[in-house]
């Protein structure tokens, strides 16, 4: 469970990567916030011919990106998105990073200021195994792939599909598209608002825009 719930993205992000890439129009301008070693960015440049930029917190991550020829600046999603001009990008991507930000709401608003559209992916905390862990063991969910104890996890703002949709509603963000993935990495047929999705969905990807745009 929670294969993608870590701060640094897991090595196998193929599902997430694939789903995000499918949402992006070729030849667009893209900002990947929290781009880690640039795997997604590299993929988008080669597969979609995007003009891609990245932001990453760790020096090692930035160095890895620069070595690959990616344009990446060292920065923090919580504080440094404000430095970007409005609507400078067609897409601002936040892949598997939302739960590690200090102020997810502000970051989401900034994503939609910087990008004409935002793509956000995150692990669903209402996934049934997660609920079961808490319900049966009575402790914060931890597994081999999510091996942080509650007191040292960088993932400080977990949310469920429903939580996220409520936040979008609250700040007037339109969900243009949403994809929920199950434990086998398969896209679920259930729509994102349904109980089944929030129960069996492990992770999700949202394509968002500001309502008025």
């Amino acid at each position: 469970m929670f294969e993608n719930a870590r701060l640094s993205r897991p090595q196998d992000i193929r599902v997430d990567l694939q789903l995000i890439a499918e949402m992006i129009e070729p030849n667009s301008r893209v900002l990947d916030v929290g781009c880690a070693e640039g795997t997604l960015l590299s993929h988008l440049i080669s597969a979609k011919n995007v003009d891609g930029r990245g932001m990453e917190l760790s020096q090692a991550g930035v160095n890895a990106c620069v070595t690959k020829g990616l344009s990446v600046v060292q920065g923090d999603a919580d504080t440094d998105l404000v430095d970007y001009p409005a609507k400078g990008f067609d897409y601002a991507i936040l892949s598997q990073t939302l739960q590690a930000t200090h102020r997810p709401k502000l970051v989401l608003e900034q994503l939609l200021r910087v990008g004409k559209k935002a793509i956000v992916s995150f692990p669903n905390f209402a996934y049934w195994r997660c609920r079961a862990y808490l319900a049966l063991k009575g402790r914060m969910p931890m597994t081999s792939s999510l091996d942080y104890a509650w007191y040292e996890t960088p993932n400080i703002h977990f949310c469920t599909l429903r939580d996220f949709m409520a936040l979008c509603d609250e700040i007037g963000v339109t969900i243009e598209k949403s994809i929920v993935v199950d434990n086998n990495g398969k896209v679920m047929k259930d729509s994102v608002g349904e109980n089944r999705a929030n129960f069996f969905g492990v992770q999700c990807v949202f394509l968002l825009s500001n309502g008025q745009d």
Partner: protein, 360 residues
């Protein structure tokens, strides 16, 4: 050549060194901009000190600046004292050394002179313009004034303006030089005396700003120099004093005091944003240059926040920019040291930029 101060300057000499060979497409030329007390001997033996060039560890076959691959040009800056026209050279109007009659030089003037050298070398555009500290200021000026001539730009440990604190330190240095009776109002060239003590003190003060507290502590601590006990006098009891005195004395042999005054002033005057109506982003509007901005965590002379200002402006200008702050305790001087992360960052950037430029 017109100068920013309004004066015209003719008969400019430029001293430069090159390493490697210009390719047929003329697409592999790199301009290195040296720092305040640097010179054109980037990778060759400095004739006065006999020491290796200031970036020898970067330049050579198989190194980051691979001379089998790139054509590297490094020129002495306008106002310098290693061959390019500066205060110690003869003023054609008087037949005597310029001294303080040399018009004030700016970073913009230095770059304008380098552009003339570029024309002379028939290089249409630089594959990269690189430099640290004041060299980095020149890099930013290059990218702003001649964007079409810079395929990429690597400003290291630098800023788009000289801070009040930095101006203050420079003023201390200049006053030390001018307080030395041997300075003689700048007309010391024919007297057989020069302001050795003043320039030496200026260098000592400046040298402290190039290091960090922790680097000084690690290197010297409170260790005594060649003695068991304090002498209860003003001898160099401490190693750090002895080191600074050595730095000061050596500097005087290779550097002209008036040049030091002119160049520090040029840095003080540098403010790229004010040249563009107060907007640094405007200085880079519409640029196609690829940038790689590098700062060092313990650099308090050109702190990371200054580099971030540049990155912010480049982002606002939708420029292609990478930025890394390198963790080190070596202070501002880190760009002159073989800092591994700097090598991988710049090496990686050049490698990928060369690929996109089609340089084999």
């Amino acid at each position: 050549m017109p100068l920013d101060c309004g004066a015209m300057m003719s008969d400019i000499s430029m001293a430069y060194n090159t390493y490697g060979t210009l390719n047929e497409d003329k697409s592999n030329a790199i301009l290195l901009c040296h720092a305040l007390t640097g010179d054109q001997y980037a990778a060759s033996r400095q004739p006065i000190t006999g020491k290796d060039g200031w970036w020898s560890f970067m330049i050579g076959p198989g190194k980051i600046l691979d001379t089998d691959r790139y054509f590297i040009v490094c020129s002495n800056i306008l106002g310098g004292c290693m061959g390019t026209t500066g205060p110690l050279d003869i003023d054609p109007d008087t037949g005597k050394p310029y001294g303080l009659n040399l018009p004030m030089i700016t970073i913009g003037d230095m770059v304008r002179a380098q552009a003339l050298l570029q024309d002379y070398l028939e290089i249409p555009d630089w594959f990269a313009v690189m430099g640290g500290s004041m060299g980095g200021m020149q890099v930013l000026q290059w990218a702003s004034a001649y964007p079409e001539r810079c395929f990429s730009a690597v400003p290291i440990a630098t800023a788009a303006k000289h801070s009040a604190q930095n101006i203050a330190f420079h003023e201390v240095g200049r006053q030390a030089v001018m307080a030395d009776p041997d300075w003689q109002g700048g007309n010391y060239y024919e007297s057989g005396r020069k302001p050795r003590a003043g320039l030496s003190v200026a260098r000592m003060a400046a040298h402290v700003t190039y290091l960090s507290e922790s680097a000084l502590h690690r290197k010297f601590g409170r260790n005594l120099q060649d003695r068991e006990d304090l002498t209860y006098g003003f001898d160099a009891d401490f190693q750090v004093e002895s080191y600074l005195r050595y730095q000061g004395i050596n500097f005087v042999d290779r550097f002209d005091a008036n040049s030091y005054l002119y160049i520090t002033r040029a840095m003080d005057y540098f403010d790229l944003a004010s040249d563009h109506g107060g907007s640094l982003a405007k200085a880079f509007a519409g640029t196609n240059t690829r940038f790689c901005v590098v700062s060092f965590s313990s650099d308090w002379l050109f702190p990371t926040s200054e580099s971030k200002d540049v990155v912010r402006a480049l982002n606002a200008a939708a420029a292609n920019v990478s930025f890394v702050e390198i963790e080190t305790d070596k202070g501002h001087d880190a760009f002159l040291l073989e800092t591994p992360e700097m090598l991988t960052t710049i090496g990686g950037f050049l490698e990928s930029t060369a690929k996109s430029r089609g340089i084999a």
